[in-house]
Symmetry: C2
Amino acid sequence: MSNAGNDIEEGLVFAPKFNNDGLIPAIACDAETGAVLMFAYMNRQALDKTIETGQAHYWSRSRSKLWHKGETSGEILHVHALLTDCDQDAVVLKVKAGGRGATCHTGRVSCFYRQLDGIGQAPAKASLKFVGKERLFDPDEVYGSNDPA
Amino acid sequence: MSNAGNDIEEGLVFAPKFNNDGLIPAIACDAETGAVLMFAYMNRQALDKTIETGQAHYWSRSRSKLWHKGETSGEILHVHALLTDCDQDAVVLKVKAGGRGATCHTGRVSCFYRQLDGIGQAPAKASLKFVGKERLFDPDEVYGSNDPA
């Protein structure tokens, strides 16, 4: 790995590196607060769709299909900025959440609604606590018998 | 996928789900500003070490070994909080960067120092622009001929 001067790290050509499954990790953050809202993967098509439309698209690994986030729930993610990292194998989306502002399929603002209770202790003793439990919608009402999307 | 009531999504037992390679994605964010600093993977050992020590450890896929972030550069990530997502297959670390505060091996505050110039246009036309170009250290001085760590 070179530290400087190579095109991937220092260039201005966007050359996203997809993994062996053809996917790139995508971290969606609230454009205003910076809070991480969700984490998922994109394939080339999903990334291109995201750039073209300004709305987050992913590759659903469980359903093996392109996933326009919010297509069922209305919880569209409007992309204000897309950043890539030094080796261009991950992207950050700075988004404004549409709909009710509940990005998580559980109806919560963020998928990261639980925090480990106890850094600095034996991992086996660590449990979780809620840090954002409130639901802005009832997933059973929104999704019914459909897969969350 | 169930929408509610299952233990993984609604429980307080930390049950991180590692992928087929035994890895879980880990997003490190600045605990104060919320800015995403880096993205890497942990295996079970790295996650346990992170929880025990309060310092970020990863699995280096390029070097196939446990990676104590900052062991060479001094750029330790002190973990203030660890969150997991709805299906417990990703974690967020809220960190305070030690050392010079340059988490990226290029010497920058964040690995996400370039932004796509042009959401809403044809992907082929999209290029990058720097949004955090300044280096807080010279990687050649810090790493010499060693791999960045």
